[in-house]
Amino acid sequence: MLITRKVEFSASHVCVNPALDRAANEELYGAEANPHGHGHNFVLEVTLEGEPDPVSGMIIDLRQVKQLLEEEVVEPMDHRHLNREVPPFDRVVPTPENLALEIWRRLEPRFAATPARLKQIRLYETEDLFVDYEGR
């Protein structure tokens, strides 16, 4: 059985690869390359897999899910500048693809220690652009 929990965080970022010139960056990232940065209301959907416990009837205590997402995602990223305040984005371009990889890296080991298993994350940068990642 799958269960999905949603959280939101708002953050600013700049998508620029310093090894490339300005034209190449604009070609690659478009308006996201604006050096002054800009922000998004990111929406993260975390899908967990497991079987309901016969006693509690729950796959996992949702308070635990909420707490874990708070610690690994919301607290470090909400109302932050990703490039300046959230490693590894001081050296990794904070595209939604890379942000999804980083969120997976943070969450996967934490959920491994719970009755649920991290199945998929979906990260919306805007409602018209989202990334799904299942650990591969």
């Binding site: 996201e32 990794v92 371009v93 693809e97 890379n98 990889l101 018209d128 989202f130 990334v131 990642y133």
Partner: protein
């Protein structure tokens, strides 16, 4: 990893199977058979799969994907009448099943040349006809090479109901 980008287009259509009589068409398609046609604000989701490139952190440059979908799909479908202006629907009822298959086929046919330098592949196409009706076509993995055409949805209703 899968990246999905959403686009919008508005188009009119009329569902009418020429091989059926007026009554059968009305019964089959209901309001959608209105002889004057009607329209929708469609939302098109294009999903691509692959791994972000190390240096760029992208599956593909988003501007390139947008330009590709614009030139291959949106230019041909947005603010158009599907029945009279889109080649495939001269012989095919423009149900959203068929529309999704046509969009998938066009994207799949143009993808290899447009993204020859990219490891990303086209994975699926989803069309929201309205908020309530959503259609999806998977585009097969690249191997074998001859199987890049999208899987057609179930037979068009017209055939199933004959």
């Amino acid at each position: 990893m899968r990246l999905t980008r959403r686009y919008r287009f508005s188009a009119s259509h009329r569902l009418h199977a020429p091989s059926l009589d007026a009554l059968a068409n009305r019964e089959l398609y209901g309001k959608c058979n209105n002889s004057h046609g009607h329209g929708h604000d469609y939302a098109l989701e294009v999903s691509i799969a692959g791994q972000p490139e190390g240096a760029t952190g992208r599956l593909v440059a988003l501007g390139r994907l947008d330009g590709f979908v614009e030139s291959v799909i949106l230019k041909a479908l947005d603010r158009r009448d599907l029945n009279s202006e889109v080649e495939e629907f001269a012989t095919l009822v423009p149900t959203t099943e068929n529309l999704t298959a046509v969009v998938a086929a066009r994207l799949a046919a143009a993808w290899p040349a447009a993204f020859a330098d990219s490891a990303a592949r086209l994975e699926k196409v989803k069309i929201h006809e309205t908020r309530k009706n959503i259609f999806e076509v998977q585009i097969g993995p690249p191997e074998p090479a001859s199987d890049v055409s999208p899987k057609r949805p179930t037979q068009p209703q017209i055939k199933a109901s004959q």
